[in-house]
């Protein structure tokens, strides 16, 4: 379902606009992230889609149909909604929470609960959590239940208002991955609100950067917004290291993987004047053996210098550069999909590929100008 904002303005009490002449289209089956500092009207814009907020001027259309012409309660039952802290009903069990919209839409109790059980599985929660109450779940689990609840009636549109900002970074990353995976499988039209540009470029097919006062500053693909910010506000908002972040969108197709000397844990390594990569019996990297270090007998984990980040072959150049920069040997370890070491890259290698990349040339010139 396509969402279209057409000249949408929201003013509270005749004062300054919270949202000012917003016009953009969220194509069917794609995810658009509204991002901006607080006070930029991103949540207000989101809430005008399901009529939690009524625009002062302009229209929001779903597949060309003005939302004003749809009964609010009916409209909302067809739009999934996830908020920060999940907003779960404390007095209902997990299954009861997930079954909310089906029950409101008049499904039988039995089929609503069966559907809720399926969704628990969809969002990766074990079935036994179904009879728990929200207060008995961790923050990340609550957020998953929130997503399951939003998906319960299989709505074509999903609105997500900073859903992951209250969970810790590690859990957040997991939830983001799952959302991307879910999106690939379900193909919903999603509007996602966040103040975190990293989250925006990670999740969005398109990113809408809003400035204070509710004006749309830029609307484009994440790569576009990072590489070609339209003005100083966007440039500043996407951050100083946007050039580095932009590497996320450069594929490492041309990157050559170099050879490295390896030693297996448990073997007798002998002596060497160069860095050697320690691997286990499945060739998974365990750390580095420093040049000139001596080992009594066979090699143990305790003899090793901890390694840097690992670069999975075929992913973006950002990971490759990071692997090289974080390695004590200045050699980024490249692994295959099973986690086995296949070789190394140097930062120089990666930079060569970046400079040869056609898209990066413009990025460099833009950066120079700013």
């Amino acid at each position: 379902m396509t969402i279209e904002f057409r000249g949408v303005t929201k003013r509270y009490g005749g004062g300054a606009a919270a949202v000012d002449e917003l016009s953009l289209t969220v194509p069917d089956g794609s995810m658009t992230v509204f991002v901006g500092p607080s006070g930029c009207g991103k949540t207000t814009s989101l809430r005008m889609v399901n009529r939690m907020v009524e625009p002062t001027d302009g229209d929001v259309l779903l597949d060309g149909r003005n939302v004003r012409d749809i009964d609010p309660a009916e409209l909302r039952r067809g739009i999934g909604y996830v908020i920060q802290h999940a907003g779960l009903f404390p007095h209902r069990t997990v299954l009861g929470n997930i079954a909310t919209v089906p029950m409101l839409s008049g499904w039988s109790r039995r089929s609503a609960r069966r559907r809720a059980g399926e969704l628990l599985d969809t969002v990766g929660l074990p079935a036994e959590l179904g009879s728990r109450y929200p207060a008995q779940l961790s923050g990340g689990q609550q957020q998953r239940v929130g997503v399951a609840r939003a998906l319960a009636a299989d709505p074509p549109v999903l609105l997500m208002d900073e859903p992951f900002s209250a969970v810790d970074p590690v859990v957040r990353e997991g939830l983001q991955d799952e959302l991307l995976d879910l999106q690939r499988r379900l193909g919903k039209t999603i509007v996602f609100v966040t103040h975190d540009i990293d989250e925006a470029v990670r999740l969005g097919d398109r990113v809408a950067v809003l400035r204070v006062g509710g004006r749309l500053a830029q609307y484009g693909t994440p790569a576009d917004v990072l590489r070609h910010p339209v003005d100083d506000f966007v440039a500043e908002f996407v951050g100083k290291d946007r050039g580095y972040r932009g590497l996320s969108f450069l594929s490492a197709g041309a990157l050559e993987v170099g050879e490295v000397v390896t030693v297996e844990i448990g073997s007798v390594p002998g002596e060497s004047g160069e860095w050697r990569l320690a691997i286990d019996d499945e060739r998974r990297p365990r750390g580095w053996l420093a040049p000139g270090s001596t080992v009594d007998g066979s090699l143990a984990e305790a003899d090793l210098v901890a390694g840097g980040s690992l670069y999975r072959r075929g992913t973006s150049l950002r990971g490759a550069l990071d692997a090289a920069l974080s390695s004590p040997a200045s050699l980024g370890v490249v692994v295959d999909d099973d986690g086995a070491a296949v070789g190394v890259v140097t930062a120089r290698h990666v930079l060569d590929v970046i400079e040869r990349h056609p898209a990066s040339a413009t990025a460099t010139s833009r950066t120079a100008r700013a």
Partner: protein, 231 residues
């Protein structure tokens, strides 16, 4: 004659025991029926307060004023207002319903207002219409606060019913008027003990009722899963 002997004689009579049971039943009915009406009134007030937040202040003030009216005065005035006879037990029921409502309105309004904004917003976003949201989300979440108020109101009503004896309707209260008139202490002692027992039993039942109505407030059946369940 000692008090123990007096009590023995008093309770020895089958006739007296039958009267006591009747008085106890009447007392329970006069105290608890108003709880039901009072809760209904408070739920209605909560609905008004949720729909029009600006009337909350007025509702709270009115409730406070009602509660300050002396009970005896109210018992005497009500027949004139609603056209019942002075000896009608409805007078007591009406008066105590008003007290119960007065006691419950303020906590009710506060409890409804205290429902987290994230919860009400997500209920609305999910397609709840206002009335269904009130009964399906806000009211259940107000139950713990409401239950605390009901316990106070129940005990208060059980004690106030006795005052009704002064206008001839008072359940166990009549044991007091009777005992004072005859300077006979056995019915007074029995009346006090039965009032206390009634209050205790009712309070216990209300605690149980609250537990049944708020399963989400009980401790977790299993240990809280702090670790994230891996996908």
């Amino acid at each position: 004659m000692s008090l123990i002997d007096e009590l023995g004689t008093y309770l020895g009579s089958a006739n007296t025991r039958a009267q006591l049971w009747a008085a106890l039943a009447e007392h329970g009915y006069l105290a608890l029926l108003p709880i039901l009406f009072g809760v209904v009134l408070a739920v209605g007030a909560g609905w008004l307060g949720q729909t029009w937040p600006q009337v909350r202040g007025t509702l709270a003030v009115v409730a406070n004023l009602v509660y300050t009216i002396p009970s005896l005065a109210l018992f005497v005035v009500i027949p004139g207002v609603i056209g019942t006879t002075i000896l009608d037990s409805i007078n007591v029921v009406v008066a105590l319903s008003l007290y119960t409502a007065a006691l419950l309105v303020r906590p009710m309004l506060d409890a409804i207002a205290a429902v987290p904004q994230a919860v009400t917003a997500s209920a609305t976003a999910m397609g709840y219409r206002p009335a269904r949201r009130y009964f399906g989300v806000e009211l259940p979440l107000a139950v713990p606060v409401l239950a605390a108020g009901v316990r106070v109101a129940a005990v208060s009503n059980i004690s106030l019913v006795s005052v009704g004896a002064l206008i001839g309707v008072g359940g166990l209260g009549r044991l007091f008027t009777d005992g004072f008139q005859r300077e006979y202490y056995a019915p007074i002692v029995v009346g006090v003990v039965l009032t206390l027992l009634l209050a205790l039993v009712v309070d216990l039942l209300l605690v149980l009722l609250r537990r049944v109505l708020t399963p989400w407030q009980r401790p977790a059946p299993t240990r809280r899963a702090d670790e994230e369940v891996a996908a």
